[in-house]
Subunit: 255 residues, 2 copies
């Protein structure tokens, strides 16, 4: 049985304030919960049917069987499967040494929780292990973000930092890239297989402060060039194209 | 003043049933409404402040000034600007002759309204003028889709069709592509600058019936290949990468 207090506690995790206070976040659905169980400590696992549990479930500190009606009170989904994990947040550290060896992403105030989740999923697909977020970027532990990231958090580490400070630190030895409408055509310029790629806010792009420290501005050319079309791509669509292109050049082009 | 009847009518447009019955849809925000005004007949334009109107607004059949409180009752936005257009749907036709000359998209049961809007915006960026949707794909006139498409509907035509019938019609002379986890690496196979690219449902990919008629299965390779990562990319992220690659090959690679 799910007590009223537990329902209240779990629902407080819908808000960043609640998540920050308790250091917890929720994830729903059999696949997602199963993906996260080996990587995050699970404080509570709530299920409506024992069949939804598996071996890993025994690792949870507390197991609660809830009725369908109780589960509905905590679910964010329209058609819930009936499995929710309350996980303990795990903010891992990072070091310039490893960042300097590979490609990472930096998000400058990406606001939409769904976009953030999709971007983390893209990072995962392209083997990008570290995503730096400005303090005003959406919260990675937002339920919408967790759902959109599809378990990518098991492999991608997300760090909330002062982006300007990190990108101007002299321990950072790799180039900083960013996408701009007045950048160099990404297909016609050299790009490295190491670096940090900055993606900007949905409405305003990369902020003025960060613009100045971008080593190379990149453009995703539209088609046909010059014809009026959408003013820009959605930030997650742009991230997908840029990450794919960095990996294509690294892997399939002889240099 | 916005009458109770008008509020009821406008709110009925949140549902597909209401939109189908009345042949109308809504769009909100100064930029979006301004983008759509030259391309769609505007039945009603609702504004909270005359300053939000412009020259084009005079083309609307009816102009209604609403109080902030009235506007809130019809708005889908958290922080509404206070401008909404009620537009007349415009289902344009299409012909094999023009489809056979270019690249088009086909969506096989894409369910999420936001994904659909993002995909139409991607199509717009890459100069793809026709998007075919299976009958079970989300409704292009869903308010969330309209907002996510960012005015791309002014240039991209969306057609709801029996996808299987269109793709097997012998008047179609261009190849049919689709993305699959067991496809050929898109970077290492030949692709044409004419064709239809099929993108599948968020959970199930391309349906069994359509799989059989795909001429070439394409894979977006992950990195490093073979290492366990997300099982797939979000459908709009995959669409972005595939469309970008078709246009890159068409434009920047000598054949």
């Amino acid at each position: 049985m799910l007590s009223r207090n537990k329902i209240k506690l779990i629902n407080s995790l819908s808000q960043k304030k609640g998540r920050d206070k308790l250091g917890l976040f929720v994830a729903e659905g059999v696949k997602l919960v199963t993906d996260l169980l080996p990587y995050f400590d699970c404080a509570v696992l709530i299920y409506t049917d024992k069949l939804l549990l598996n071996e890993q479930s025994t690792g949870a500190y507390e197991l609660i069987e809830a009725s369908r009606a109780e589960y509905k009170k905590i679910s964010h989904q329209e058609h819930p499967q009936g499995l929710m994990g309350v996980f303990i947040k795990n903010d891992t550290g990072w070091e310039f040494e490893s960042i300097n060896k590979t490609i990472s992403l930096a998000l400058d105030d990406v606001q939409d929780p769904g976009n953030l989740g999709t971007i983390v999923r893209i990072a995962d697909w392209f083997g990008i292990c570290d995503v730096f977020c400005s303090k005003n970027t959406a919260d990675i532990y937002n339920p919408k973000t967790i759902q959109a990231s599809m378990g990518a958090l098991a492999r991608v580490r997300v760090h909330y930092v002062d982006l300007h400070a990190v990108l101007t630190d002299n321990r950072l030895t790799v180039p900083v890239y960013g996408t701009f409408l007045d950048g160099e055509n990404i297909y016609q310029t050299t790009i490295s297989n190491k670096g940090i790629i900055v993606m900007g806010n949905e409405g305003n792009g990369i902020s003025t402060g960060l613009k100045k420290i971008i080593d190379k501005k990149l453009l995703i050319p539209n088609y046909p060039e010059g014809i009026k079309s959408s003013e820009s791509l959605n930030v997650s669509a742009a991230t997908a194209i840029v990450c794919a292109e960095f990996r294509r050049r690294q892997k399939y082009i002889e240099t």
